[in-house]
Amino acid sequence: MTVVRDRVTTRLAVPTMRKQSPLIILVLGAIAVVALTYTLPPFRTYQLATVGAYLCVTAGLTVLTGLNGQLSLGHGALMATGAYTLALWQNKFNLLVVGIIVAILVTTAVGAVIGLAAARLRGPYLAGLTLAVAVVVPSITSTFDGTFNSDQGLSVVLNPPPESMTVEQWQAWVCWGGALLTVFTLALLTRGRFGRDMRAVRDDETAARLAGISVARTQVTAFVVSAACAGLAGALFAVIAQSVSPGAFPLTLSLFLLMAIVIGGLGRLTGALIGALLLVALPAVAHEIGEAAGSQRLEGNLALTFFGVVLVVVMLAAPGGLASLRIPLKKKGQR
C-alpha cells in the first residue's frame, strides 16, 4: 500500500521550482559573501552580517507560511529563545559552535511544543496563539529574572575573532555561513517529498489526507524546521549584538518578519532574501531621512509605517509578492 501511494504522489506531484542546483547557489553565495567582506567598508559589512542573520529566519518562515500555509507571529519569540540559549551557554562554556547548535536544538524543542498546538489550529486561531507567544517574552524574562536578568538582558561572552580579519568580517562570515547552510538545507527539503507534502497540505488538507499524507505530522515538521531556523537566527543576532534583551525581540520584530516574507513573495527563498535585505535597508534609509529631518520621532516610526503600508498594499494588490509580479500565488485551500 505504501509503495503504491509513494508512486502516485510522486507522479501527481505539483511541479517543483526548477532552478539552479542548491549546491551551486551555496558555492556562489559563499564566494560572493567572501568577496563582499573584503571590499565593503566595516559598517556595510556589519549590515551584510545582519542580512545573513535575518535570512535564516525569513527563509524558515517563508517555508512555513508560504509552502505550508501556517502563519506564525511567534518567530520573534523563537529567535529570543535561540539568542538567550546562546547567551547562557557562552557565559558558561564559551564554545561558540557548540553553543549555536545547542541554541538550535533548544529552539527546535520549543518550536515542537508550539507546533504541536499549531497543527490543530487554523487561520486567526493560529495567528492569535502565536501572537500571544510573541507578547509573552518580556513577561518570562522578568519573572525568571535570576536567569534572564529582566529587561537589561544578558551580555554574550565571545572570543575575539582570528587576527587576520576584522570583527565585522568575522561576523559576516559566521552569519552567512549559517544563512547559506539554512537556505541550502531548506532548498533540498522543499524540493523533495517533504516539500510536496507541505504544498499538498496547504492547498487542500482533505485531498492531502486522502493521498495518504499525514497532515498533522507534515505541519508539525514544518513548524519545527522553521523554528530551528529562527533559533539559528536568534543565536546569530546574539553574536552580532554581543548581548540579548527582551527589547531586541518585540512584537514588531515578528510583524517585520511577516512583512519581509510577504513582500518578497510567500514560499520563495529568493523572496526571503529580498525580505532580509529590506529589513536591513529600509530602517537604514529611514534613519537617514530622520537624521536629515532632525527628528528622532521619525527614525524608527518611519520604517514601521512604511513596512505597514507595504504589507497592506502588497496583500491587496499583489498577494504573490515582488518576486512573482507575473505569476500570482496559488490560491490557498479554503473550507
Binding site: 507560511t65 500555509g69 502563519l71 507571529l73 498546538a117 490543530r120 489550529l121 487554523r122 487561520g123 486567526p124 486561531y125 495567528a127 492569535g128 496563539l129 501572537l131 500571544a132 507567544v133 507578547v135 509573552v136 518580556p138 513577561s139 518570562i140 522578568s142 519573572t143 488538507e205 518585540p250 512584537l251 514588531t252 510583524l255 511577516l258 512583512m259 510577504v262 520621532r297 521619525l298 524608527g300 516610526n301 518611519l302 520604517a303 514601521l304 509605517t305 512604511f306 513596512f307 505597514g308 503600508v309 507595504v310 504589507l311 497592506v312 496583500m315 491587496l316 498577494p319 490560491k331 490557498k332 479554503q334 473550507r335
Partner: protein, 293 residues
C-alpha cells in the same frame, strides 16, 4: 479573605473591559470572518485623539465622546478603504492586512506623539472605598461596570429589537440572500466595523488609565487578553465573549495578586492554549471539533 474579595472585584472590573473588547472582536468576526488584529492599535489611536482633545479643552468627557466618534469613523474607514478589498480565499490574508494596519497605526502615532508613555488620567478616583472595613470597589470600577453594561444592553437592543440590527444579522449570516432581499450588505458591514471599532475605543478608554498609560503599543497585551476572552467564549457568541472577558479578568487578577504581575501574560497564554486545544469552539459550546475556519 479580604484580599480575595478585593481581587475578585478588581478582576470583574478588568474583565468587564476585556468583555467589551472581546465583544468588538466578535462583532467583526461574525460579520466578516476576520479577526481584527488591528483592534488594539485602532483603540490606542482613538485614545490619543481623545487625550489630545481633553488636554486642549480641559474636558475629559469631551475627549471621551470624541474617542467614540473617532472609533466609529476609523472603523468605517478601515472597512471601506482596506478590509473590503481583502481577498478572502485564504483566512491568512485578512490577518496579514490587519497586522499591516497595526504597523501603520503604531508608526504614525509614534511619529506624531512619540514613543514615550504618556499619562492617561481617569475621570473618577481609582481609590477603592471600603464596605464593612474591606476595600472593594472604586468609583472608577463602578463607571467601568456602568459603561460596559450600557454597551451590552444597547448592542443587544440594536441587534434584537431594531430593523437595522436585523439587517446586520442577515447580512452577516446570509449575504447573498440578503442582497437579493434588498439589504445593503456592504453598508451593513461598514456599520458593523464602525460599531465594533467604537466599542473597542470605549474599552481602550476604560483600560488605559489602569495600565501604564498611553503608548502606541499599550494595547498589545490587552488585545491578547481580549482575544483569549473571545476564544473562551467561542468567538461566535456575544454572550460568550462577555462571560469569557469576566473569566479572563478574574484569572488575571488572581494571578497578578497572588503570583505577581509579570506572570499574568504567561497565564493568558496558558489559558489560550488549553482552551484552543481542548474546546476550540469555546467553553460554552457542546462540540469540540477542531476549527477549520
Amino acid at each position: 479573605m479580604d484580599r480575595f474579595l478585593f481581587l475578585t472585584f478588581d478582576g470583574l472590573s478588568r474583565g468587564a473591559v476585556y468583555a467589551a473588547f472581546a465583544l468588538a472582536l466578535v462583532l467583526i468576526w461574525r460579520a466578516t470572518r476576520i479577526v481584527n488584529f488591528a483592534q488594539g492599535a485602532m483603540a490606542v489611536a482613538t485614545a490619543y485623539v481623545a487625550y489630545s482633545v481633553a488636554d486642549a479643552t480641559g474636558s475629559y468627557w469631551l475627549g471621551f465622546i470624541v474617542a467614540l466618534l473617532a472609533g466609529l469613523l476609523l472603523g468605517a474607514g478601515v472597512e471601506r478603504v482596506v478590509m473590503r478589498f481583502v481577498d478572502h480565499s485564504s483566512p491568512l490574508n485578512g490577518v496579514v492586512v490587519a497586522l499591516g494596519l497595526v504597523l501603520i497605526i503604531q508608526g504614525v502615532l509614534g511619529m506624531i506623539y512619540g514613543n514615550e508613555f504618556r499619562p492617561a488620567t481617569a475621570p473618577f478616583s481609582r481609590d477603592a472605598f471600603e464596605i464593612g472595613g474591606v476595600a472593594l470597589l472604586s468609583r472608577y470600577d463602578l463607571f467601568v461596570f456602568a459603561a460596559v453594561g450600557a454597551v451590552v444592553v444597547l448592542l443587544t437592543l440594536l441587534f434584537t429589537r431594531t430593523p437595522t440590527g436585523l439587517r446586520m444579522r442577515a447580512a452577516a449570516f446570509a449575504p447573498d440572500v440578503s442582497r437579493l432581499l434588498g439589504v445593503p450588505v456592504g453598508g451593513m458591514l461598514t456599520l458593523g466595523w464602525a460599531l465594533a471599532a467604537a466599542v473597542g475605543s470605549l474599552a481602550g478608554m476604560l483600560v488605559l488609565p489602569t495600565e501604564l498609560g498611553l503608548n502606541p503599543t499599550a494595547m498589545d497585551i490587552v488585545f491578547i487578553s481580549a482575544f483569549t476572552a473571545a476564544v473562551v467564549g467561542g468567538l461566535d457568541s456575544p454572550i460568550g465573549s462577555v462571560l469569557g472577558g469576566l473569566i479572563v479578568g478574574l484569572l488575571l487578577s488572581y494571578i497578578s495578586g497572588y503570583l505577581g504581575a509579570t506572570v499574568a501574560p504567561m497565564a493568558v497564554l496558558a489559558l489560550l492554549v488549553v482552551v484552543l486545544l481542548s474546546r476550540p469552539d469555546g467553553l460554552f459550546s457542546r462540540s469540540s471539533k477542531a476549527r477549520t475556519a
